[in-house]
Amino acid sequence: MVTSSRDAPRPAPTRAPVIVASPPLLQVRGLVKRYGSHVVAVDRVDIEAYAGEVLGIVGESGSGKSTVLRLLNLEERPDAGEYFFNVPELTGRNLFALDRMAQRRVRTFDIGIVYQNPHLGLRMRNTSSGNIAERLIVAGERAYRTLRLAAREALAASEFPLDRMDDPPVRLSGGMQQRVQLAKAIALKPKLLLLDEPTTGLDVSVQALVLDTLKRLQRETGVTTIIVSHDLGVIRMLADRVMVMRYGRVVEQGLTDQVLEDPQDAYTQQLVHAKL
């Protein structure tokens, strides 16, 4: 039923930016990740994200979108690919080729991440404020007062109820756990914020509130954000641009409204029309 995208006449590829003069903050080229001998989770993916923009990645489960996010967070090593960050101390250096310590520094200072599953991002039995302080301790901060203040500030920014900042995440609701993760992610004012299905599994009303917080934070801090979701509604609300992945490859990318309303690829058309 699905025709190969090669059959279709494609519009002329869009040109390189001329108005946006600065190079992208993040550039990934030729990303490949295999599991075992015949599973290619990510297959020659290129990504560019410009400063201050929100890039969405959509696709079904198994499309490779979460793997891409883990690779961008330097949690796993790719089988091929280059990853550049356009910040003074890292310009021209392939992040995948850095040693462990240097990668850890990048993960601490330049990247924040929110996982769908809070167990991956938080120590569930430590206090919420402690979870955030831990990140600052890794960054070298030792003064109790400073840690406490910074944790409070980050939690307030992610609209977490401060009277519960010393409760462990295990005793918090799903929406609050995501806010603790978000506070931890932004505590050190990263250049790049990675969101992996941040609102999936939350009640619809809670989801709306968390989305609103994300939108406001993004606007106020201008942090470059990459959000992975299978929920096209979430992507439409947050992302400026979107990449559609299938079988580890990018089948289409473009402005979010364009991809959702005038999809060019056969698979994207199916995906968009399958939305309730």
Binding site: M1, V2, T3, D7, A8, P9, P11, A12, P13, T14, R15, A16, P17, V18, I19, V20, Y50, E53, V204, S205, A208, L209, L211, D212, K215, R219, R236, M237, D240, R241, Q253, G254, L255, D257, Q258, E261, D262, Q264, D265, A266, Q269, Q270, H273
Partner: protein
């Protein structure tokens, strides 16, 4: 006379008077993969828009008027042709500009008002209207003040300002939509049937706002169900006709051509 010949005359005449947008042989076809069909929206459209000019797009239902606006906003990807827009940063072809450049232009220069309000749940009417101003860097207090003023001008009841628009009637939603779309300064505004569900008071307020924008040099391209509302503002009409939708030959995908050939016949006519 063919549309192309006539509008090239326009370009010759007005190119010195700050042409803002030059649409040149613009075409849009939709390719529907599951039907293996190609559907023509409009073909080889040529016209020119100057600063402060109000262009009315006319034609029967389904002829591609909204599609044209969406192509200029790049919600739809034009199939061929050009739309040269003279931005503050220089000339750029909207038909093939990079996505990030389009994002920038949408934020700063080009607005699009659709018939439908799309807001995030749990965002109040006033917050929704203030958002473009916040994005432009205004303080929350100033943005809120201007948002209230815009809602007031369009006649949205004060008690609704802090309510969620998802519960509003069609007309009330449209007021929020318009206030939001017209609040931040733009150089080109695309209006897709903005008066469809508005009462007489709100229609008058809208026309007043559009007249202000026009006076300030903003170019407006609009599709109006009741064109008499804006009759006094219109400088030029772009007519889309059914024969600007020639059916593609053969069996869709395999035989379709992207290049636009033989524009002479069915292009949009431009009339002053």
């Amino acid at each position: 006379m063919s549309g192309v010949a006539r509008s090239s005359l326009h370009i010759a005449q007005y190119v010195q008077i700050m042409s803002l947008l030059q649409v040149n042989r613009l075409s849009k076809h939709f390719i529907m993969h599951h039907l293996r069909r190609e559907v023509m929206a409009f073909d080889c459209l040529t016209f020119d828009v100057r600063e402060g000019e109000f262009v009315l797009v006319v034609g029967p239902n389904g002829v591609g008027k909204s599609t044209l606006l969406r192509c200029l906003y790049r919600t739809y990807l034009p199939t061929s042709g050009q739309a040269i827009y003279h931005s503050r940063y220089g000339a750029i072809d909207l038909a093939c500009a990079s996505d990030v450049d389009i994002v920038r232009l949408r934020r700063e220069e080009i607005g699009h008002v659709t018939q439908f309000l799309r807001v995030r749940p749990r965002v109040s009417a006033r917050e929704a209207v203030a958002e473009p101003l916040l994005a432009a860097g205004l303080s929350p207090i100033e943005a809120g003040k201007r948002a209230s003023h815009a809602l007031d001008a369009l006649g949205l009841k004060r008690e609704l300002w802090d309510a969620y628009p998802t519960t509003f009637s069609g007309g009330e939603q449209q007021k929020v939509n318009l206030a939001r779309a017209l609040i931040a300064p733009r150089r080109l505004v695309l209006l897709d049937e903005p008066t469809a569900s508005l009462d007489a008071h709100a229609r008058r307020a809208l026309v007043e706002r559009l007249a202000q924008l026009k006076q300030a040099g903003v170019a407006i391209i609009g599709v109006f169900h009741h064109a008499e509302d804006v009759r006094g503002l219109v400088d030029k009409e772009v007519a889309l006709t059914a024969d600007s939708q020639r059916p593609s030959e053969g069996d869709g995908l395999l035989t379709s051509s992207i290049a636009c050939n033989g524009c002479a016949g069915g292009s949009g006519d431009v009339a002053e």
